[in-house]
């Protein structure tokens, strides 16, 4: 299993950068799903020992079911029912977004080399893979006009954090991670409901229209 860790991390970094540069909403959602699938596989690959223990299998299955299947399906359905325009509609250009992602990559490589713990062997590319997802999600969250893209950004952020925590699964049970997953599941559904409401009230899900509350 461990042999797959490095290729998975490289793929994750590429997907994270891809998320920042795709122009079509549909691809944005698809890539977030791929990110979730890679996360599920990474949980298995990072598990200690030759064969992952049952609780790691359950968690990986839950991650795959929720992040790789349920969320993309839910977001695609939202996109269809709201008849959204096909494009991501960023505030800042795609080039600049990608540049932000690359900056995050460099920063995380530097951070990973600084924060070493004696005796703890984290895969060398874990930091870049996790933190490009985190910062990339954050960039999407603040630089995209559509409320739905913000949800995808939140998901990418959360995927990054989850990946960063994946090696800690080696010591202990997974009930906490499952609870976190459940919380995120509910959060995305609540956000989805609010996105529907925003569309019905404003006839658009452009958060740039949110300008009535200020001092």
């Amino acid at each position: 299993m461990h042999a797959f860790v490095e290729p998975l991390m490289v793929l994750l970094v590429l997907v994270n950068l891809g998320l920042l540069s795709v122009r079509r909403m549909a691809w944005c959602i698809r890539l977030a799903g791929v990110q979730g699938a890679l996360l599920g596989l990474a949980i298995l690959a990072l598990a200690p020992g030759a064969e992952p223990e049952p609780h790691v299998w359950y968690l990986a299955a839950a991650v795959l079911a929720i992040k790789a299947l349920a969320f993309p399906m839910f977001l695609r359905r939202t996109m269809r029912t709201l008849h959204l325009r096909a494009w991501v509609e960023p505030y800042i250009g795609y080039g600049l977004s990608l540049l932000a992602g690359l900056a995050a990559l460099l920063f995380s490589l530097w951070l990973g080399s600084r924060l070493a713990i004696p005796g703890l062997h984290l895969p060398p590319l874990l930091f870049p893979a996790a933190f490009t997802a985190f910062f990339g999600g954050l960039t999407m969250l603040v630089s995209r006009k559509k409320a739905l893209t913000q949800v995808v950004g939140f998901l990418a952020m959360e995927n990054g954090i989850f990946l960063f925590g994946a090696p800690t699964l080696a010591w202990g049970s997974t009930w906490m991670e499952l609870a976190v997953l459940l919380d995120v599941l509910v959060a995305v559904f609540v956000m989805g409901i609010v996105v529907h409401r925003i569309d019905r009230t404003f006839d658009s899900i452009d958060v740039g229209l949110f300008c009535s509350l200020r001092d």
Binding site: R114, L115, I117, P118, G119, L120, F134, L138, L141, A147, Q150, F154, M157, E158, I161, F164, G165, T168, A170, W171, G172, M176, A179, V180, D183, V186, A187, V190, M191, V194, R197, I198, T201, F202, V207, F210, S212, L213, D215
Partner: protein, 492 residues
């Protein structure tokens, strides 16, 4: 059994509220559940409580204090809701600010979410496991978002979205902080300990300092976002001004505390790890920043619900500052926490009454509140005196303790800034609040309107609470506050 029932009771009552169609029984259910919860919480004061769920749920002094505040406020809000919900028209109404038609969310959903919100806050207060604490804080966000969107118009929708997104990002950051903490506790022999608070505290001394510092910074910014600390407070004035007044009261008086508890739990870990000075400096900095930002926005604030919201930012800053100063100031913080919650919830409920009578949130358009609303008006002034820390209200005592703590530890600059900002806020709040209270009533408005008892009695009760806490602190409460202050590093 006691602690489980504290979580399960509001959950079950919320489920039942969803299924109850007639308004009368459902409103009664809300009140009964709130009072039952309060009764159970008071029973926790009788003696040691048995931990539940394998020790993940337990009430220490801090948990008991935070839980009691939340439960008292919820009971008051549930009583207030009885008259509030009766006055709310079920059909389409015109929004007095923009003139657009809107309807309310179904009352069933609203009531159920209120009760789920209480369950989530109980979970946060009683959690002895940092992961469970995180789950609880996230659950409070999800349960309270529909509450903010009770009046279904554009502004509340905007506030709900900002609240959901900003707080979710904040809480995600806190999750990152928790993961950093678990790495910080890594030990080659035994690996990473469970995130049980006791296990974490026991291992803290051997933690890796750089990782622990990073963890605390993430948790402080993460939960601090939800606790309304500046500069991460931007969701707070919007959410507080657009939600129904009883929800604003709960958000401000109970939810902010719960989020702050998350920060303080990790602060205790830092103290145990010998990084207390680093963490204290951060708390002092965030505390003073929050007070400064709030003071700037309070001056000249034209919307009286936003005024109260910024005042909450200020008070969360004061509490954070007191904890950061440690010693007697930490005790002052615990007293301040209780006093602020009671006074702010009272003020938000009264603001709801004023809003219902005057149909405006503009502090410039309201005047003659004392004449028009013979109970709400005078209480509004009393609440103002309480919140700005006039004697004999308890906020005076706690602010005095925090200032004295700053002076006795030789932090003259901090004490001076603290007192100066309190003075600025006093002036900034006095102008609109007193203008609203005094003068003739607006033309066409009847003087001395009758007010429903349940619209004013909860606020009156909370006001009496702040007054009593200022004059006489019951011995068990004082002991609990002292113990809580000790948990958060304030050796007395």
């Amino acid at each position: 059994m006691l602690i489980e029932s504290l979580v399960i009771l509001p959950l079950a009552a919320g489920g039942a509220a969803l299924l109850t169609r007639p308004h009368g029984p459902r409103r009664l259910l809300l009140l009964v559940a709130a009072l039952a919860h309060l009764g159970l919480v008071l029973a926790c004061w009788a003696g040691p409580v048995e931990p539940a769920w394998g020790g993940t749920l337990d009430l220490d002094a801090a948990g008991r204090l935070f839980l009691t505040i939340a439960s008292v406020l919820f009971a008051a809000a549930a009583a207030y809701a009885q008259s509030y919900l009766k006055q709310e028209d079920p059909g389409l109404r015109s929004d007095f600010q923009e003139g657009l038609a809107f309807a309310n969310a179904p009352e069933r959903v609203f009531t159920a979410c209120l009760l789920f919100f209480l369950a989530a806050m109980t979970l946060v207060a009683a959690a002895r496991h940092l992961g469970l604490l995180w789950v609880g804080v996230e659950a409070t966000t999800l349960a309270s978002a529909p509450l903010i969107y009770f009046h279904r118009h554009r502004r509340s929708l905007e506030a709900t979205w900002k609240y959901l997104i900003i707080c979710s990002v904040g809480i995600a950051l806190a999750l990152l902080g928790n993961i950093l903490l678990s790495y910080a506790l890594f030990d080659p022999g035994s690996g990473i300990p469970p995130m049980d608070l006791d296990a974490v505290l026991a291992r803290a001394a051997g933690a890796h300092p750089a990782w622990l510092k990073a963890a605390f910074a993430c948790v402080l910014v993460g939960y601090g976002t939800k606790a309304g600390l500046a500069p991460m407070h931007s969701w707070l004035p919007d959410a507080h001004s657009e939600s129904p007044s009883l929800v604003s009261a709960l958000l401000s008086g109970a939810l902010l505390n719960c989020a702050l508890l998350g920060v303080l739990r990790l602060f205790a870990v830092c103290v145990a790890a010998g990084l207390g000075d680093f963490a204290r400096e951060l708390l002092v900095a965030f505390g003073l920043t929050s007070m400064g930002v709030a003071a700037a926005f309070i001056l000249g604030q034209g919307d009286f619900k936003r005024l109260l919201a910024y005042s909450s930012v200020e008070h969360m800053g004061i509490i954070t500052l007191g904890i950061g100063l440690g010693g007697g100031a930490a005790f002052g913080s615990m007293l301040h926490l209780a006093g602020h919650s009671l006074a702010k919830a009272m003020l938000f409920m009264l603001a709801g009454n004023i809003l219902a009578a005057f149909h405006t949130k503009s502090a410039h358009d309201v005047h003659g509140a004392v004449r028009a609303l013979p109970v709400t008006g005078p209480l509004w002034v009393a609440g103002f005196l309480a919140i700005v820390g006039c004697p004999p209200f308890s906020l005076f005592v706690s602010e005095y303790a925090i200032a004295a703590g700053a002076l006795s530890s030789g932090r003259i600059g901090v004490a001076a800034a603290f007192l100066l900002l309190l003075g600025v806020v006093f002036v900034g709040m006095a102008t609109p609040v007193l203008r609203m209270a005094q003068g003739p009533t607006p033309p066409g408005m009847a003087e001395a309107r009758p007010e429903p008892a349940l619209a004013v009695l909860p606020a009156l009760a909370l006001g009496c609470g702040v007054l009593v806490l200022g004059l006489w602190l019951p011995a068990p409460l004082a002991a609990t506050m002292r113990e809580a202050a000790t948990i958060f590093g304030g050796a007395l």
